[in-house]
Symmetry: C2
């Protein structure tokens, strides 16, 4: 028997229509690529979105067409989030930090019809332009005064808008239609595309806004310090208008001074980003002595923060650190580290230890831990295995059905992470499957080793990698970057780690290095480290000046 | 182009499966019909739900069958919320406060196959049993020790459970399948059935839990003081396990002492209910001097609270009053009165005035105000008209497609309410369309008149009705019930009202009466008042002893 409830599709334009009607003056604030701060309300944003939707239709964009961006977090990118998806086309947010060859590769693989780009990337577009096989139209996301000379044939975003009126009714779009395409920076093989949909994104935005996730309300001011080409900036450009929150878009600048300036000027209540962002912010606050008192939550994800960093963020930025774990394939929400009622009584040390877990399961994301034999492992906090997930905002396949081995026959996505689940439902990552160190037949958690050494005050960051060993197959090597102006004896650091992990986990060697290779999503490229072992690393060993 | 995201259906068993896995020991606490307090965790609840699902299948219940309840808010009713819906059948929650003829009528209209009843209603079931045309099975929701003698053929709930094991996999259910059936106590014509679905209920539970609605988290303790036959107790039995909140079910007892006892014993953080519940609670707290310090939010709906009552609730219960407006046809969430950022600076009086509005629009519920000519009216807070709504948890039709005139040709539901929407998006009801007083061609808001007189300290409740007038067509008459032990001169009350409303709204007469007729959902039956005018009312005029 069918229910007799209205069959309203869950589509993305409904979100901005809501915000424009009920929060017309709530602001979207942008640090523009051109320089100045730009601000407008959701009503004005919607009017511009509708003009851009008509402009895209006038350019011949059809439902299902891929429309690509090479762009920072700005109001124009925000407008494309709705204009492109609202007409049934697919917004392909390319990560401009990829190698130019990879940028061209993903644009061709996606068969992008249109490419819109920030003027920052005019040189890149000029370079790869001749190699773009399917792109028919280039649009510079700026006004005529800033038209980039490098791409003389590019149309100008503001000119396209100016040619249209804002009267527009959204076409009917099936909620299961594709809305977004985001390639994962695969560390093995070619990048793979995740094809988001209207339904999955709306459900994800609702779940993300719940009190035990990010708790977004109309009284919030959100500053996503993840770029809009990283899993839709963790979906905040959709969640903010859904709840009527103010949205602050940082443009290209995620350095400490720029982020601090926005937090202070806009009275930001919620920030999110990878750990390195908050190191920069805390460093800047240390230097300037500025005080921040508006932030309620700092969501940290992308990679695991150390205990020392969590404490430092809470002291310098205020508010509470909520660790999140997610993936491009998960829209990206997986788990969020929120306390249970039982944690109300925990002391400072217990609280910090709890916050080191990636987070607790929320409705909508099923999780299981699977052993090497494929059987589900107990949720005892002690049995690491392959983490597999399932839910309405989890990818069912990659674009063009590549990488099918990541999807199990019984309908789960294998994350490639090794993790434990504890009886309280908290997830703890122990490794990426490909980064695992297996010593004497047992796994050693590289994350635990890195966390242990990073709790030393002289250490800025660290990476543990496995090196071949004649008896144990592999043994851990711990590479360490010191904080500016600090010195440390490797043997002291080794002893520091030995006090904090199982005896047989203690690395055979701790090496101090000048820097670690960082990939386009801000993570340490361990494959590159392993490939470089042992020759290059031996060269890289330097002791920074004290 | 189809998205490549998992097509996980939004079904109700996923909610309890989540709670059992991630919040296995979080409690559902019940004041049982038999007397004692019952408590268990979500894991045990799920095990019992699965046994009941198997028992229902063993009784021959098929997908789409209607399974009815005559039951209070208890753990067994909670179990049926999931067991019945989980096997694809439809839970028909009958309001036992209806006249026995109406109970039989709705059971026959729904073509219920099974009727489960609390022992409180054994006499009622015995009385109407012979008239139930389709019910094949009667189940008493109790154990063998409390088997009701009045219904000798009834099966016993606990015996049915005991005969089953908890190993059970839920069948696949389409998310658009019907899950619940709830009849509105229509004040005109026969009751009409609202046929909820899995999808609509899951989406509604998500929206209800958002920070700007009820802000439910795993750290909450919810006590719904709306019975589970009233629009699913405002959906809290689904929202609580979705977020892992503790759920306290008050059984049949919603009197002040019973509710206060549960709040104090269970450290309740969130309560909801109609205004009269909170009068009883506040009276009890006045008498006992007990202090409550755990409540963060008191959600008040069903009818509009007066300013005096809002203040009294916040003083006596603590926390903040959030008015809600909704309808059975809306699952029931329509609007919730949460503040905007601009309201942070409002003073006490402004805050109170804002809280008298029914609430602000949230994503998922479209609203419009329509004039008598069918054209949309401005959102200026001054133009009353017919309130029409639309959204994924709003009914598209009544069961068996009766009452079709409430659904517009362009896909909206006409609520039967007269309301304004202001520029900030707040809804203010001025009347039920059928209760409107039209004087000299203009509407007079009965709610405003009632609110004005209820701000007088001697007044407990009031009802404004229109009486025929030779010149103005209708003029308002204000009927007033005084608080216990209070006296008041009707002319003084009239002057009190005159100071607070437009001059021509001032009622021609204020009459003090001993009581007002209250319907099965706790609302004043104005039609009955109008029918009784003028003869019966003249008799009812009494002055309570001072």
């Amino acid at each position: 028997m069918q229910a007799l409830m209205m069959d309203r599709p869950l589509t993305l334009p409904t979100i901005l229509e809501y915000a424009a009607q009920y929060h017309p003056h709530q602001e979207v604030v942008t640090r523009t690529v051109e320089g100045p701060i730009h601000r407008y309300g959701y009503a004005e944003a919607l009017a511009r979105v509708k003009r851009m939707a008509k402009a895209l239709l006038a350019l011949g964009v059809k439902p299902g067409d891929r429309v690509a961006t090479l762009a920072w977090s700005t109001h124009r990118h925000f407008e494309l989030y709705f204009a492109v998806t609202g007409i049934g086309a697919v917004l392909h947010t390319i990560n401009p930090r990829l190698h130019p060859d990879q940028v061209a590769w993903v644009a061709n693989h996606a068969e992008d019809a249109v490419l819109l780009f920030d003027i920052t990337f005019a040189g890149l577009v000029a370079e790869i332009g001749p190699r773009l096989a399917t792109v028919k139209t280039l649009v510079a996301m700026t006004d005529a005064a800033h038209a980039p000379a490098e791409v003389p044939g590019a149309l100008i975003y503001e000119d396209l808008l100016a040619a249209q009126t804002p009267d527009f009714d959204w076409p009917q779009v099936d909620e299961r239609s594709a809305s977004g395409l985001c390639y994962t920076s695969g560390t093995t093989g070619n990048p793979k595309g995740v094809l988001y949909g209207h339904r999955s994104t709306v459900l994800h935005a609702l779940a993300l806004s719940l009190p035990d996730a990010f708790a977004f309300s109309a009284r919030d001011v959100l500053l996503p310090c993840a770029q809009m080409f990283h899993a839709n900036a963790w979906c905040t450009p959709y969640a903010a208008p859904l709840v009527g929150a103010k949205l602050v878009l940082p443009g290209r600048s995620l350095d400490g001074p720029s982020v601090c300036e926005l937090i202070l000027q806009e009275a930001v209540t919620f920030v999110l980003g990878v750990p390195t962002i908050w190191v920069g912010v805390a460093d800047h606050l240390d230097q300037t002595g500025q005080a921040i008192d508006t932030i309620r939550t700092v969501a940290v994800g992308g990679s695991a923060p150390t205990a020392a960093l969590i404490s430092r963020i809470e002291q310098r930025l205020g508010g509470e650190v909520r660790q999140i774990w997610g993936m491009t394939e998960m829209s990206p929400l997986g788990v969020v580290n929120t306390p249970l009622p039982a944690h109300a009584a925990e002391d400072g040390q217990a609280r910090l230890q709890r916050k080191l877990k990636q987070g607790r399961g929320l409705w909508g994301v099923d999780m299981r831990i699977v052993g090497e034999d494929g059987a589900e492992l107990p949720r005892d906090g002690k049995s690491p295995g392959a983490l597999q997930v399932r839910g309405p905002w989890v990818a069912s396949a990659y674009f063009k059905h590549e990488g099918a081995q990541a999807f199990t026959d019984d309908g789960w996505f294998d994350t490639g992470d090794i993790a434990t689940l504890d009886p309280e439902g908290y997830l703890r990552l122990t490794d990426r499957a490909k980064d695992v160190i297996k010593s004497g037949g047992e796994w050693i958690s590289t994350l635990d080793l890195e966390d242990a050494v990073c709790s030393h005050p002289a250490v800025a960051m660290a990476a543990a990698v496995g090196v071949p060993h004649p008896k144990w197959d592999e043994r851990p090597l711990l590479l360490v970057v010191l904080r500016p102006g600090q010195t440390a004896d490797p043997e002291v650091l080794k002893a520091h780690v030995a006090e904090r992990v199982a005896k047989w986990w203690t690395p055979d060697e701790v090496r101090i290095v000048a820097e670690l290779p960082i990939g386009p999503t801000g993570k340490v490229l361990k494959r590159e480290l392993r490939d470089a072992l042992p020759e290059a690393l031996a060269v890289a060993v330097v002791q920074p000046a004290g």
